[in-house]
């Protein structure tokens, strides 16, 4: 940053800042901040088989192909034809490049038995050869591989050393960017102390075997006049040449996405605010053996592919056909997605290469296939090839890399009752964004799976333990039964549910019987009420009757009396009336 600022402030300084020549080797230019120092010699040292020749060859070929800088490769060890054949496996066609005047190979053959030394000499012949080669194609890059062979061919060390010093000086004057390779010596970077002459940039290549697993490492020992990464960086040699892997990005400023993606299991999504995971997050699924981690991972892959996004499945335990077959039993067909080109399997035994190599190969696959989701199943197997801290370091770098690419990653991890693995759990868990745990719940003579969300950054996830059920129809999460007897799962849960159902039926039955009884009682009572009513009415009738009789009697009596009085009256004065009226 400060350099950038200075550049703006003082345009004159730009010319003073060290110019760099990009190597074109994947990753190396990032570590060196732009490449090797331009116009200066760089020493690449390392033991036999550490990749020096290949490294320098790639520098030349990439320079010619990508940066339009022709190069001279002066080989002191291998013949031109051998070199051509050796690098053809990397897809470099040296014959064609030589024909196009982009690369010149020059094999310097030194045979001690043919050479007799007498008196003073110098290495002008070499200078002239090199100078001629450089001028004939206008080379900007030069490789001397391995110049130390001069020491085995010529015995006058004094002359050699003086001449080497002159050679490097001469190379600088020529303005070519040079790589000089040197065999690693005892206690020194190179056997002949070449680092003494080449002091601008020294890169050390190492090939380390640890626990029978080899890792290639690269370290910049020195880079005068430039900032550079100081770590040991693993690198990989494969059919595309060398790729160096920066150990960690220096910054923690990845873009984050608020987009949510489904886990493929609706009931699990429900535990995660109903939406699932964040895109670009890292998810850890851990659990003991046989708890269905792979099934969860496969569902996630399935869901990814259903969204028409690409997914890569790195399997470290099972072979792809095995996974596909097994997943068919729970109702997902992964083969379809493979045929559609959405899913890729990469299966390898963890012991195939070192951790770093795994990382590099993951990088390569990701860069080539550009998936949105990757799955590593399981990461715990990687411990067989590295220590816990190494695995953690690798995963940090992996997560880091994936986050910059907005790729969602799901790891599965096996938990054993083993201290090392518990550490992994925790070691890794601090790195991941979401952590699901699947665990056994052993109860009532059977084993069931319980699942809970240990953590999920940035969302209000459920705190409930769910029973995780794997059936022919797929995966599902069922709420566990929380009863007076505690948490119940599996058949105990089902038994409890049945019991509850029976209870319910019994209760409803009981209720309805009581209802009936009440009804009956009501009817009885109603009947009683009705009869009483009848009784009352008859009584009333009775009463009414006597009342009416009384009335009638009274009326009749009244009438009779009237009659009597009338009769008596008539008797007195109108007896004729009486007889006439009759």
């Amino acid at each position: 940053m400060s350099i950038e600022q200075q550049k703006k402030e003082d345009p004159g300084l730009i010319n003073k800042i060290l110019h760099k020549t990009p190597t074109g080797i994947t990753g190396l230019d990032e570590i060196t901040g732009g490449g090797l120092p331009s116009g200066r010699p760089t020493l690449i040292c390392g033991a036999a088989g550490s990749g020096k020749t290949l490294f320098s060859m790639e520098f030349i070929v990439r320079g010619a192909l990508e940066f339009n800088e022709p190069g001279v490769f002066m080989a002191f060890e291998e013949k031109s034809e051998e070199l051509t054949v050796n690098v053809a496996s990397l897809g470099f066609d040296l014959d064609k490049l030589q024909k196009d005047k982009l690369v010149k190979l020059d094999h310097v053959h030194i045979e001690r038995s043919e050479i007799e030394e007498t008196g003073e000499y110098d290495l002008d012949g070499l200078f002239i050869r090199l100078g001629y080669a450089i001028d004939s194609i206008g080379a900007k890059r030069v490789v001397l591989d391995t110049i130390e062979n001069l020491f085995s061919g010529l015995s006058n060390q004094l002359i050699l050393r003086a001449e080497l010093r002159r050679l490097f000086q001469w190379l600088k004057e020529k303005g070519v960017t040079a790589i000089i390779t040197g065999e690693k010596g005892e206690g020194a970077l190179t056997r002949q102390g070449l680092e003494e002459y080449v002091s601008d940039c020294v890169i050390l290549l190492d090939h380390r075997v640890c626990n029978q697993i080899s890792t290639r490492l690269l370290r910049i020992v020195k880079y005068r006049g430039s900032v550079h990464g100081t770590n040991e960086y693993p690198f990989l040699i494969d059919e595309e040449g060398i790729s160096v892997l920066p150990v960690t990005a220096l910054k923690l400023e990845n873009n984050v996405s608020a987009e949510r993606i489904s886990s493929g299991i609706p009931s699990l999504d429900k535990m995660l605010e109903g939406k699932g995971f964040y895109r670009g997050s890292s998810i850890l699924v851990s659990g003991t053996a046989g708890t269905g981690k792979t099934s969860i991972a496969a569902y996630f892959a399935h869901a990814t592919c259903l969204r028409k996004e690409r997914c890569v499945y790195f399997a470290f335990e099972e072979s792809p056909p095995q996974i596909i077959r097994n997943m068919q039993s729970i109702g997902i067909n992964l083969q379809e997605h493979i045929d559609d080109g959405l899913l890729q399997f990469h299966a390898s035994r963890p012991t195939l290469n070192g951790l770093e190599m795994h990382l590099v190969s993951i990088h390569k696959v990701v860069n080539k296939f550009r998936p949105r989701t990757i799955i590593l199943d399981p990461i715990t197997n990687l411990i067989t090839v590295g220590s816990v801290s190494e695995v953690k370091a690798m995963l940090i770098r992996l997560i880091d890399f994936l986050q910059t690419q907005q790729i969602t990653v799901m790891f599965t991890a096996l938990t054993l009752n083993n201290i090392v693995n518990e550490q992994t759990d925790e070691g890794v868990s601090s790195l991941v964004d979401a952590w699901l745990r699947v665990r056994d719940i052993e109860f009532n003579g059977e084993r069931n799976r319980g699942m809970y969300v240990m953590k999920s950054r940035g969302m209000k996830h459920s705190n409930q333990v769910r029973e995780f059920v794997i059936s022919d129809e797929g995966l599902n999460l069922v709420s566990v039964y929380l009863g007076p007897e505690g948490v119940l799962t599996g058949s105990a849960r089902e038994a409890q549910q049945l019991q509850e159902e029976t209870g319910l039926i019994l209760r409803t039955h009981a209720v309805s019987r009581k209802d009936l009884e009440i009804e009956r009682k009501r009817k009885v009572l109603e009947a009683k009420i009705a009869s009483l009513h009848e009784e009352f009415e008859s009584l009333q009738d009775e009463l009414n009757k006597s009342y009416v009789e009384e009335e009638l009697k009274k009326e009749i009596i009244e009438k009779n009396r009237e009659k009597l009085t009338k009769i008596r009256h008539h008797e007195n004065n109108t007896a004729t009336d009486n007889s006439s009226s009759e």
Binding site: D106, V108, H109, I110, E114, I115, E116, E117, T118, G119, E120, Y121, D122, L123, D124, G125, L126, I128, R129, G131, Y132, S136, L150, G153, L154
Partner: protein
């Protein structure tokens, strides 16, 4: 050794007229006159003039004397100041003086 029928074809690679080159040529001529009279050819190649020739004979050091014929090919580097070594290198037994 049947030396009479053979002609020594010698090439001396130099780079310009440096002291070493001049000394080497003088020494070579001297030895040849002494031991190989009329049986030798000396070809002096100046690499400054013909740099492309350096690759063919695998020249590194200057001056280099290359004996092409008779076989085997031998190279002698340096200013040839050590007569014995040169003669051994050229496969010449010192003739009776």
């Amino acid at each position: 050794m049947e030396v009479k029928e053979e002609i020594w074809e010698l090439r001396l690679y130099v780079a310009g007229q440096t002291t070493k080159s001049v000394t080497a040529l003088q020494n070579l001529k001297k030895y040849c006159e002494e031991h190989l009279k009329d049986k030798y050819k000396i070809e002096v190649i100046d690499l400054l003039v013909h740099p492309q020739l350096a690759e063919g004979d695998q020249i590194l050091a200057i001056p280099t004397l290359v004996k092409k014929v008779p076989e085997p090919i031998r190279k002698i580097i340096g200013d040839l100041s050590n007569e014995e070594k040169v003669l051994v290198g050229l496969n010449i037994r010192p003739s009776t003086k």
